[in-house]
């Protein structure tokens, strides 16, 4: 049983999941506190449900008491859970904007980029959404922030005498 956290009134996005066509999780961002066990269960079920959808079906489906907005980009599914009264179309735009950001950052992003640079995927998401809400609507600003953070990381590492190549 999915025990949804009772938010008294409103929460835009409950969580975002990225997973492959084989159902392998590539990113999970949870904006509601749930136990690991619950998260695993939700992920498993939702992945199954979404993967079962046919290609021409529309991007929205009702699942439990949530609305699921999903879109497939190449081999990756981007899947968001929003509250019932939220706007599906704007969520689709959010997903698309995120993909554009990844694409700009990685240069023609593919699933492998997300696999091997998963922390970057998180960092980028965290510059675009905060607490489940859109924080920055300018693509340019998001990418600039990431760039600057990356630079800061590199320069600090040089300063501190750490490894300058492959930080991680």
């Amino acid at each position: 049983m999915y025990t949804r956290i009772q938010h008294p009134l409103h929460l835009s996005m409950q969580f975002m999941l990225l997973f492959s066509r084989q159902g392998k999780l590539r990113l999970q961002k949870w904006y509601v506190p749930l136990s690991d066990k619950e998260k695993k269960k939700i992920t498993r079920e939702l992945v199954q449900t979404v993967l079962a959808r046919k290609p021409k079906m529309c991007s929205f489906l009702e699942w439990r008491d949530l609305k699921i907005v999903y879109k497939r980009y190449a081999s990756l599914y981007f899947c968001c859970a929003i509250e019932d009264q939220d706007n599906e179309l704007i969520t689709l735009e959010i997903i698309h904007r995120y993909v554009e950001l990844l694409d700009k950052y990685f240069g023609s992003v593919c699933e492998l980029d997300i696999i091997f640079n998963f922390e970057k995927a998180y960092f980028i998401l965290d510059e675009f959404l905060l607490g489940g809400e859109v924080q920055e609507t300018s693509k340019k600003n998001v990418l600039k922030a990431i760039e600057q953070a990356d630079l800061l990381q590199e320069s600090q590492n040089e300063e501190w005498g750490g490894l300058s190549e492959d930080i991680l």
């Binding site: 938010h7 008294p8 009134l9 409103h10 929460l11 392998k24 999780l25 590539r26 990113l27 999970q28 961002k29 949870w30 904006y31 506190p33 749930l34 136990s35 695993k40 529309c58 991007s59 706007n87 179309l89 704007i90 735009e93 959010i94 904007r97 696999i115 091997f116 998963f118 922390e119 998180y122 960092f123 965290d126 905060l130 607490g131 809400e133 859109v134 924080q135 920055e136 609507t137 300018s138 693509k139 340019k140 600003n141 922030a145 600057q148 953070a149 800061l152 990381q153 600090q156 590492n157 501190w160 750490g162 492959d166 930080i167 991680l168």
Partner: protein
């Protein structure tokens, strides 16, 4: 441990290289052991790398709780790399269910107050993702300070963190409400967006806050207007729309603020209807995505009630959407198209809709046909156009037309005297071509019956001259009568029409008499009865035949119009009921309501039950003689008197039609009080020669021959 630890990407590669699940587990377990050891006594330089690896493994579903403490250490480290990974770890591994989570509160506090912008950003992000209620309480003031910091980068994050805090601890609203006013003046889209979200949260939780924020409605409207008018901004636009995220959020807030509050709604109405929604929706109509087109059509349909002119702008596009192969889209387009018809575009729109009617899917035909007829009725520029339009609909989609279309058309034609010749000719030609479309056949039969003389004799400049022989007309009607495609009602029309022609045509009536007598033994009871009656009319009451079969006078339209008037008078009645004196205007209004016909008529006007009224009521009751009429005038008769209520009958015989007797019932109230529930009904004995029994039977209750179109009931 001197062996350099595996780089993250190397580990990932190794894991992906595993051929089996078991192999993968082995790799991971081995690495996790290394990581554990490294955490215990490893060097701080690589801690971030170890945690990162652990986070990857965690995503694959493996346990990683032993990394929780490492998150704390990394967050506390001065290095940005460490903090970055540490905070990420905290968001993935720590949540309010773990006791450990509170331990990062102090680090966050430090980072919020002393960190660089980037570090503050990390802290705020983590706080808004996994911050528990206690953490929020502890850190509220720190976040509040950051709301007024100069850097927009930090402020936008601080605002959204405030949103999270309010969701967790609603009492914190008091801290975060005051700064909102100032934040709304920001030009930075991110800050604005966050602020609007914050205001929404505040308003949804507190009616006082809602009231407070109503005063920012003009400001919001202004922001929105600016967004719309400043045009394309590469930074913020999506498909030509400036910052849809911000627009949507503003709209949501406006909706909350405007709900049940007229003043606010007024302020935003202008902007919303004229500039905003309709334009965007119009563009959506052109979108290649079906979902969006559907949503656009649905939304425009809702809008068209409140702002017709704005939606009109998109009429061409809407009409194009009629061509959609997807039925749900074309249905929406149809509804919207019908809603957009007005007096200025009615000709063009009807043209389009008629075209659509010819090719549209079957389930839409009925709606389309009724829609066109309704639109034609409302906005017809000329009677002739109206008749033509209805004719065209009947020819194209006759089978799908609603039942009252026949009545409406006959009513329409009947009322357009100058077009009788035109109508009957056109209908005759249409009928001659096709006798399968029942509504069309019914109307045509009625028309031919009524205006058969015009068909043969009258010249009509409007269409080509038509040479029709009497025999042809009779033959056509007989065809209708005999055709298996004709419904019983249709055959009834045809038979009556034939009967009427017996007085319209110049030839002898043998053919008609023959048909009538044949149908006297028809299996269809209705038809049989008619035929018998008509036959009797020929044989025994031939002297009355001409009078009975005279041209129909125009029937007053029943239905909604009259109900409205009745309602109005009812209202007036209630007002007047307070006054003890019955007033003249009241009575005359009722008179208008019931005053049906000028001049002689053989119409079946069943008396309507009267609305309660204090005043007098007049009812015209038209009746036929029940016996050969005496020549002398009949004196008035007082037939009822009790407690001040008097009923009297007066009798008038119009000189032009001696066969007709007009009986007027006058009711007067001479008492001091009001008369309520006054109902006047008349019972008329059946006349075997004249009455058509069944019609009488099921019309009397409604009072209006709305089920029976007038032609079927020429006499009462």
């Amino acid at each position: 441990m001197l062996v350099p630890s595996l780089k993250v990407q190397d580990l990932i590669e190794e894991i992906r290289g595993a051929k089996t699940q078991a192999q993968e587990r082995e790799v991971i377990q081995k690495e996790c052991a290394h990581i554990r050891a490294s955490f215990r006594d490893g060097d701080p330089l690589h801690r971030h790398r170890q945690l990162a690896k652990l986070l990857y493994v965690h995503m694959l579903g493996y346990p990683a709780h032993f990394g929780q403490m490492e998150c704390l250490k990394l967050i506390a480290s001065p290095r940005f790399t460490d903090k970055r990974v540490g905070y990420l770890g905290a968001m993935l591994l720590l949540d309010e269910r773990q006791d450990a989570h509170l331990l990062i509160t102090n680090s966050i506090k430090n980072d919020l107050s002393q960190g660089t912008q980037a570090v503050q950003g990390l802290a705020l992000c983590t706080l808004s993702t996994m911050g528990s209620a206690e953490m929020c309480r502890d850190l509220a003031t720190e976040v509040e300070k950051l709301l007024l910091q100069p850097s927009p980068y930090v402020r936008k994050k601080a605002v959204l963190t405030a949103v999270h805090m309010i969701r967790k601890v609603p009492e914190l609203s008091t801290i975060f409400l005051p700064p909102c006013a100032q934040l709304l003046h920001e030009r930075h889209h991110g800050i604005l967006l966050g602020t609007i979200t914050l205001i929404m949260e505040l308003c949804e939780r507190s009616p006082a806050a809602l009231k407070h924020f109503r005063k920012v409605v003009p400001q919001l409207v202004q922001i929105l207007r600016t967004l719309l008018t400043t045009g394309y901004s590469t930074e913020h636009s999506i498909s030509g729309v400036s910052d849809p995220f911000l627009q949507v959020q503003i709209l949501r807030l406006l909706r909350i603020l405007g709900r049940n509050h007229e003043e606010s709604s007024e302020t935003m109405n202008d902007l919303l209807a004229q500039v905003l929604a309709v334009n965007i929706l119009g563009r959506f109509l052109l979108n290649s995505d079906k979902n969006i087109r559907y949503v656009a059509l649905t939304s425009l349909l809702r809008l068209v009630q409140s702002d017709h002119s704005a939606v009109q702008r998109h009429r061409p596009t809407v009409v194009e959407c009629l061509q959609e192969p997807d039925t749900s889209l074309s249905r929406r387009a149809l509804e919207l198209s019908l809603a957009l018809v007005n007096s200025s575009n009615v000709r063009a729109m009807t043209q389009e809709l008629q075209g659509f009617l010819q090719s549209c899917p079957t389930d839409l035909r009925a709606d389309c046909a009724s829609g066109i007829l309704l639109a034609a009725e409302r906005y017809a520029p000329t009677k002739r156009w109206h008749i033509d339009t209805i004719l065209r609909v009947l020819t194209t989609a006759g089978a799908h037309v609603r039942d009252d279309a026949v009545a409406n058309l006959t009513q329409l034609i009947g009322g357009a005297q100058e077009l009788h010749a035109y109508s009957v000719r056109r209908l005759y030609c249409a009928l001659a071509e096709d006798i399968s479309q029942q509504p069309l056949v019914q109307v045509a039969a009625w028309c031919i019956g009524e205006y058969g003389d015009l068909l043969l004799e009258g010249s009509c400049e409007e269409i080509e001259p038509l040479q029709v022989e009497e025999e042809e007309v009779l033959a056509l009607l007989e065809r209708v009568l005999q055709s298996h495609m004709s419904l019983p009602a249709t055959r009834g029309y045809a038979l009556t029409a034939l009967m009427k022609l017996s007085t319209r045509l110049r030839g002898d009536n043998n053919r008609i008499r023959q048909v009538v007598s044949i149908y006297g033994s028809c299996l269809d009871v209705e038809l049989q009865q008619r035929a018998v009656e008509y036959d009797t009319l020929f044989r025994k009451y031939d002297h009355m035949r001409a009078a009975i079969l005279e041209k129909m006078p125009l029937v007053e339209r029943g239905g909604p119009q009259v109900d409205e008037e009745a309602k109005e008078s009812k209202e007036e009645a209630r007002l007047l009921e307070a006054a003890p004196v019955p007033t003249e205007p009241q009575a005359s209004k009722l008179l208008d309501l019931l005053d049906l016909l000028d001049g002689p008529s053989e119409d079946a006007q069943h008396p309507r039950p009267l609305d309660p009224s204090p005043g007098g009521a007049l009812v015209h009751l038209l009746d036929l003689p029940c016996a050969p009429p005496p020549a002398a005038p009949i004196p008035n008769l007082k037939v009822f008197e009790r407690e001040g209520l008097q009923l009297s009958l007066s009798f008038v015989r119009p000189p032009e039609t001696p066969a007709l007797l007009l009986i007027t019932v006058t009711a007067t109230n001479t008492s001091g009080g009001d008369v309520t529930h006054f109902i006047c009904q008349a019972a008329v004995p059946k006349f075997p020669a004249a009455a058509t029994g069944p019609q009488w039977g099921h019309s009397s209750s409604s009072g209006w021959p709305s089920d029976d179109p007038a032609p079927q009931n020429p006499q009462s």
